[in-house]
Subunit: 143 residues, 2 copies
DNA sequence: TACCCATGCTAACTTTTAGTAAGTAAATAC
DNA sequence: GTATTTACTTACTAAAAGTTAGCATGGGTA
């Protein structure tokens, strides 16, 4: 019984040795964590994970749901997430094809973190846009 | 056979209205949140934010710290984060140039979320790599 | 029976983005 | 006087993303 996904956001201030080690690892050039992060934090990866948080979806449902994805990119992103074990794919051998995608256990965990990030951003959009405008102006104004 | 695809949002665990609105916004094609997310979750954006969590750093310090960044990409990513208000840039008009980068308040907030994601991934790297290997094998084996 | 649509992809091609190498100013060290 | 250091920018090239077209095939429509 290992439930309790408590790994998420502990350690408010003090940085443990472990964390520093991990961080060092992320910083070191060619490490696999960067690949994983790339799949998860990519333009479509994020939206797929968030989208699947509320249950199983078919390929074309996802396509319609996520504004602006091409079929190619959707398929590619889903395959990456599947290979990493975050998404489960079940294909029913019928015609026309019927394929269902859902989050695995670890997929749910990481999707929560990604969603937290996305939610934080959505709340701050106006703030950020204001800052951007001011920043542009400062550049233009040639301060 | 119409199969009624209307199931989309079962609202599993009390998803607030606000959350659904935000989500809808992220899903809608051209919204600014995607841009913000892109800067923050990009290959180098992530590493810059995490790197700056432990204090101010100069450009070249960051460059040495983050394995594999080119100067161009570092400058570009820093500018994006600065424009969005996550990173503060202070240039001392000396020769050779001296420029310091640090997180703003909102930068610290978002960096915490990004770091949580990165930490989670680092912990699960072995697990994910195993899954990838098995996945490849399944493809090869032609199951 | 002929025709068209829907689904979940993949392959070929184009555009955008990332990455690489070189250049720049100007003080200081040798 | 040549080299070095810093924080960039500017061309150029490689890689990734995006676009369009195609495929198999059962069911619905005519």
């Amino acid at each position: 019984m290992k439930m309790s996904v408590n790994v998420t956001i502990p350690v408010s201030e003090a940085e443990t040795l472990t964390e520093r080690l991990r961080r060092g690892n992320l910083f070191a050039g060619p490490c696999p964590s960067r690949d994983i992060l790339k799949n998860v934090s990519s333009r479509w990866g994020v939206l797929i994970l968030i989208s699947l948080r509320d249950g199983t979806h078919r390929f074309s449902e996802l396509r319609r749901r996520i504004g602006g994805v091409s079929e190619k990119m959707l398929a590619q992103s889903l395959q990456a997430l599947e290979a990493d074990g975050f998404v489960q794919r079940i294909a029913y051998p019928v015609v026309p094809p019927h394929v269902e995608y859902s989050l695995t256990t670890s997929g749910e965990e990481i999707a929560r973190l990604v969603a937290a990030l996305a939610d934080w951003i959505e709340v701050r959009v106006p703030e950020v846009m204001t800052h951007r405008a001011e920043f542009e102006e400062r550049l233009q104004g040639g301060e």
